[in-house]
Each structure stands twice: as C-alpha cells, then as structure tokens.
Amino acid sequence: MFPLAFVGEGKRVILKYFAGGHGIFRKLVDMGLNPGSEIFVVRNQMAGPLIISVKGGQIALGRGIAMKIYVEVKE
C-alpha cells in the first residue's frame, strides 16, 4: 500500500484507507471517494495538485491530502 500521490498518470488503483484526521475525509467520502472505490489517476505531474477520476467525476486533490490517501494497485 502506498499514498495516492505516488501513483503515475493513467494508472488505476483501489482506495484502501485514510491516514489521520477526520473532517476533510468525510467530505471526500461524500464526493464518492469511499474506501474500496476505484480511482483513475488522470493527472499527476509530481508537483502541484492531482486530478483523479472516481465514479465518473473528476476531482482535483492537493498533493498534501493525496499523501494521506492510501491505495493499492488494482489486480
């Protein structure tokens, strides 16, 4: 398992868990990012925010928060 921030563009991963705090993650869950959901990394340029696609919608995520989202490669 590793942080979402390290996943390259064009990869598909599964969200495993959130590391730390509560508040902001609750909002992410409401936005469709619940553990178990499939994430497609649309943009990750290893600097600045990422763009991910989840359940058909696109979400921009800051690098800081992407470091706290742990994912696993989809087998």
Binding site: I24, R26, D30, G32, A60
Partner: protein, 670 residues
C-alpha cells in the same frame, strides 16, 4: 391560498440554479464551477393554480453538516420540511449524485429527481434509463437538459402530482436490526416522533452526528437512548473499525446495484473535456495558457467596446448642446449641463467596456475554465499563502468585488477565507476602469494599453505580497487542503451568458441612476454654492469663482494630505467622493474641470494639474485607497466589523505608500 414550499437541492454544479431560474423566471447567477450559489435564494412559481415557493439551496455533496453550506441545506430540509424536495442529479455522474439522494430519503424527504445534463452523459458514452431509475428508487425521475429548457414542464407536472406522496424507505441490510432497536426507544418520545423522522435520527446517531446528539440530549428519553446506543456500538465495533465509513460503504453498495441496472455504458470515449484538460492543466503549459486567456479577455473588453463608447460620447455631446441653448433658467441649465451631463455622462461613457468585461468573464465562468484556473494557479497561490480556490474570487474581482467576496464562501477554512476576502479589493474592479481609461487617455497617449495593464498587474502583485505578509503575521499556518471538483467544459450557453451579463450590467446602470447620480448632484451643488451663497453657473468655468465654493473648501482642507503627490485640490475632492463608488472620481472630475466643448481627457491634459508621474500615482491611489462602500459592507457581512475596518485602514496606508513611492521614483528617474 397557502404557498407550497419546494426545495431544490443537489451536488454542486449540477444545474440547480439553472432549473431554479427556469421554474421561477428569475435570473440568479449561474456559472460552471462548484460553489456558485452560496446562500439560499427564493422565488415563486404558479402551476395549475397551485402557488409554489421555490428555494434554491447551495450545492452539497452530503448532509453531514460539515461546512456552512451543508448546514444551511440540511437545516432547511429538516426544519422547514418542504413539501417536495427536488434533487437535481447530474446524469453524467450518477453514482456520486445518488449518495445525496439516499441521504435525502433517510431524512424522509418527499424526493422528486431531476435527472439533469443527460446531454453530457450521452457525450461521455452512457445512457441512464429514467424509468428504470424511478422503479429502483421508488421516486419520480424526470430527465432534463436545464440549459436548453428541456424537461422543465414535465418536471413541474411531476412536482405538482407528488405533493402528498409518501417517500419510500431505503433499507441498509447490515444495519437494520440496530436502526430498529434505536427507533424503538426513540419513539417513546412523542415530541421527537412528531418533529423528526426517527429512522434518520437513528442513522445519524450511529454516525455520531453532533447536531443530532444535541437533539437527543434534550429528549426525555435521553438516558435510555444513550444506553441503547452504547449497546449497539459495542456490537458494531466488533464488525467495523469506523461505523460512519461502514454506513457510507453500505450506501455506495446499494447505489452501485442501482447504477448497474439503470446505466448502460455504450463505449469508452475520449471527451473534448479530457482533450482540453490534457493541455490546460499541463505542468508547464497551464500557466501560460491562463495568462493568454486573461490577455484575450481584456483585449476583447477594451478594443471591441471602443466604438460603442464613442457613440455614447457623441450622444452626450449633442445633448449638452441642446440643453445649453434650449433652457433659459441659469441654475437649471447648469445643473443639467455641468452637473448631470458632464458628471454622469463621464461615467456612462464607460458602460460599453464595463458591459463587455462582464460579458467575457461570464463566458469564462460558463466555460468551466475557472476550476482549471484554480487548479493551475494552486502552486503559485500556495507560495503566497493563498489557497488554489482563492483564484476564483480573485478573477471575479475584475468584474466587481462584492460578488467576488461572497464567492469566498467556497473556502472551507476560516483563515483562508478571511485572507482571500482581505486582499480581494486590490483586484481591480470594473468601477476603476473609467479612471484608468481617462487618465491613460489624457496623459499617456499611445501607451494606454501598457499603462492600464500595469495597473491591473500592480493590483495583483500587491494582493499577492500582502497575502504573503498577512499569512506570515496574522494567519499563521498553511493553507488548507485543496479539493475541488472539475466540471466538464461547456460549449457556450448564450442564454446563460447574456443573462448573467445583463444582470450585472443592470446593477451598474442602477448604481449610475442612484448613488452616482445623487453624488453628482451634490458635487454640482457644492460647486455652484459657497459660504457666500449661490455663485452662479459660471463658477464651473472660472477658477476664481470656483475657489469660493464649498468644494474648494473641502478640497483645501484635504490639500495638505495630497501635497507630496503634487495633485491639485480638485483631485482631493474627487477622491473624497469616490469613496461612495469609484466611478464617481471620473464624474466629479467631469464636473470640476467644466467640460464644455472639449472632452474630459483633453480638459485634464491641458489643465496642467497633473504631470504624467503624478497622474500615474493618482491612478495607483485610486486602485488601492479604499474599497467602495458596498465592498466594505460585504466584508463586514462576511468577515465581521473588525476585518472591515482593518481592510479600510491597511488600504489607505498602502495607497499612500505606493503613491509616494511612485512619485519619488518618478522624480528620481525623470
């Protein structure tokens, strides 16, 4: 006849306001980024003899009451109990949108679903079957394309028909026994039973919702409820680490079952949104593209609007001639000619660039690019202690700071929000444009473009520097996390774009007709009268007479303050009244420089009141010195009196400082 209350709710940017406007005939602000509507708006609708009060709520992803907008939305539904809750669902993003729908059903709301943006889901290559969805969810589903007005009539009909429907109950298999157990205790309190949907209270108790917890604290069954809750938690914790997440998971499982049955995916397609994003959010290309688009927006504003300004100018010139020769009474003729035509006329000449500015920015907002601007600028903003989302209010500030400051509500973090509010007045709004255009035209012939651009850039630079300072000294810490949905790009919806442009232009015209008009009359009155009484209309042509007027008295009182810059007292008077609205600066100059045959730029240039350096310093001063009254009002409303005063003070100081630096540097260099 009693009004029936219906609420519009949905995820951000699904088209709620578009539907609201279509239902009520109003013209509320629509834009293609999440978080356009920040307060609830109301309107009326009549359908088949029934009167409805329609409420447009801010967009929310869930009803956990995590941020202000979620609280507003949830409280409205729980407390006001609207007869029908219309959930606007983005068909191109069905699963995520259904999450809110399930939560609405939990509350026991009488839900009607508007399945909006079916054109976009088509483009993406899927097909949502409304009948199937209706059958699976047990609530009416109406497909719509709100931006084209399709499906609205059908929606009205279904709303009217479902007024007294009983909403279906969604069951969560893994939690049913626990929910039932809690309901059994809760229902012993009649007051709760009457006011709330017990099922919802039970679910929220499982999620440890603090507001619901507070409700229970007041109940007479408090002790029993809490005891049962502890039992339930003991059981549940054996199975789940985090019950809230487990419940979310349960909801998403149900949703995914529904989606599987109601959605047919035709094929994978590459949408033009994906193609544009590949470039517009590119690490290196993104920022140059952003600046190129900004340049194009301003080029359009200034160059294309020019002939229309000339037409208005010519019209006022002609009118002045007619009034001057046609009216006998000296005072009346002077009021019309020197006060209203010269004053208000000087401001109205700028109607075209202002309207064009609104037009191009409305288009930008509608296009979907704003969210990308926030994305690409996030890194830059971060360096100055701002949040990526601060970019949206900053860009809106080019139009008008008042809605821009309202738009900061999309920032969840209080520090980020207040910081973004404080620097917003430095973004040069449309009211300052007349001042730049006037002075650049008078003193920098041939280099107007560069000079005006430099004002905008000065404003942006100061905003960034101050944000950095404020972050370092007042709002210590890091900007909060960046999370933002990126909506698909829109082909221009001209109806929306012109609607928004017109609403904003209308506001400017109203301002011209009220506050600017009134101030012009006051300035005129104070110019033709003085401590010795009425001076006669000649006061505005002869310097000697004008020196005896009230404005001169005010001007001379202010003169020492502006001495270092080398501006004459008339400039001081213009700045003094400009506090009400910045356009007034130009209007006041129009009156005081007695614009007759010549137009104002020539009158100014030939008056020798300003050197080019002094003129440049004056422009900078007008950019910075104080936000207009309306802006201060909205800062007070959004951030409190303390911060409004702070903004006022720091801007006055900063303006003085910057103007001084310009004059000194200009003196040293030239």
């Amino acid at each position: 006849m009693k009004e029936v209350v219906i609420a519009l709710i949905g995820n951000p940017n699904t088209g709620k306001t578009t539907i609201f406007n279509a239902l009520t005939g109003l013209r509320q602000h629509i834009g293609n980024w999440p978080g356009v509507t920040v307060e609830k708006k109301e309107g009326e609708l009549e359908h088949k003899g029934i009167k409805f009060r329609v409420v447009d709520l801010p967009g929310v992803y869930g009803l956990t009451a995590y941020s202000i907008d979620e609280k507003i939305a949830r409280n409205f539904i729980v407390q006001e109990k609207p007869k029908v809750v219309v959930d606007i669902i983005d068909a191109s993003n069905l699963e995520r949108n259904l999450y809110l729908a399930l939560q609405l059903l939990e509350i026991g709301a009488n839900v009607v679903i508007a399945l909006n943006k079916i054109d976009i889901s088509e483009e993406k290559g899927y097909n949502v079957n409304p009948e199937k969805l209706e059958e699976l969810l047990g609530v009416p589903v109406v497909p719509t394309i709100a931006s084209k007005g399709e499906g609205i009539d059908k929606l009205k009909e279904r709303i009217a028909k479902s007024l007294d429907k009983k909403p279906p109950i969604v069951e969560y298999p893994n939690f049913e026994p626990y929910i039932k157990k809690l309901i059994k205790v809760l229902e012993k309190d009649e007051k709760l039973t009457r006011q709330y949907n017990l099922r919802w209270l039970a679910i929220k108790l499982l999620e440890e919702d603090s507001d619901v917890r507070a409700i229970i604290e007041k109940s007479k069954m408090r002790d029993d409820v809490l005891k049962t809750l502890i039992d339930v938690f003991n059981d549940l914790h054996k199975k789940y680490d985090d019950i809230e997440l487990a419940l979310a998971d349960e909801r998403y499982k149900i949703i995914s079952e529904i989606a599987k049955k109601a959605v047919t995916k035709k094929e994978e397609r590459i949408t033009f949104t994906e193609m544009l994003d590949e470039v517009f959010t590119h690490k290196y290309l993104g920022i140059p593209v952003f600046f190129s688009l900004m340049w194009m927006a301003f080029k359009f504003t200034f160059d294309v609007s020019a002939p229309f300004s000339d037409i208005i100018d010519a019209f006022f010139g002609w009118l002045g001639g007619v009034v001057g020769s046609g009216i006998g009474n000296d005072a009346l003729a002077s009021l019309l000619r020197d006060g209203i035509l010269a004053g208000l006329g000087s401001v109205l000449v700028f109607l075209p660039p202002i309207a064009f500015l609104f037009l191009v920015f409305s288009w930008l907002e509608d296009s979907g690019y704003m969210a990308r601007a926030a994305f690409v600028m996030d890194r830059v903003m971060h360096r100055f202690g701002l949040h990526g989302k601060s970019v949206v209010p900053m860009i809106m500030g080019f139009g008008c700071n008042v809605p821009a400051i309202m738009a900061t509500r999309t920032l969840e973090d209080e520090k980020d929000r207040i910081l973004t509010i404080l620097i917003n007045p430095l973004m040069s709004c449309s009211a300052r444009l007349p001042v730049y255009a006037l002075f650049a035209g008078a003193f920098f012939m041939g280099r107007e473009g560069t000079v005006i651009t430099s004002m905008y850039i000065l404003g942006i630079l100061l905003a960034l520097i101050l944000a950095w300072l404020f972050r370092g000294f007042i709002f210590k810490g890091q900007p909060s996390h960046f999370v933002m949905e990126l909506p698909p790009y829109n082909k221009p919806n001209w109806r929306t774009i012109f609607g928004v442009t017109w609403t904003r232009t209308e506001k400017f015209l109203k301002k011209a007709g009220t506050i600017i008009f009134a101030t012009m009359i006051i300035v005129w009155l104070l110019s033709v009268t003085g401590p010795s009484g009425y001076l006669g209309s000649n006061a505005l042509e002869s310097g000697e007479l004008l020196a005896k007027s009230w404005v001169a008295t005010i001007g001379r009182a202010l003169e020492p303050i502006f001495k270092p810059f080398g501006w004459d007292w008339k400039a001081g008077v213009a700045l003094f009244f400009g506090f009400l609205a910045k356009e007034v600066v130009v209007g006041t100059m129009g009156i005081l420089y007695g614009v007759g045959e010549e137009s104002l730029p020539y009158a100014l240039a030939s008056s020798s009141a300003f050197t080019p350096v002094a003129a440049f310093a004056f422009m900078a001063f007008v950019l910075i010195y104080v936000p207009c009254v309306a802006t201060i009002g909205v800062i007070k409303q959004e951030a409190g009196t303390k911060w409004a005063l702070f903004a006022l003070l720091y801007e006055l100081l900063l303006a003085y400082l910057v103007a001084l630096v310009i004059v000194l540097m200009g003196g040293a260099l030239l």
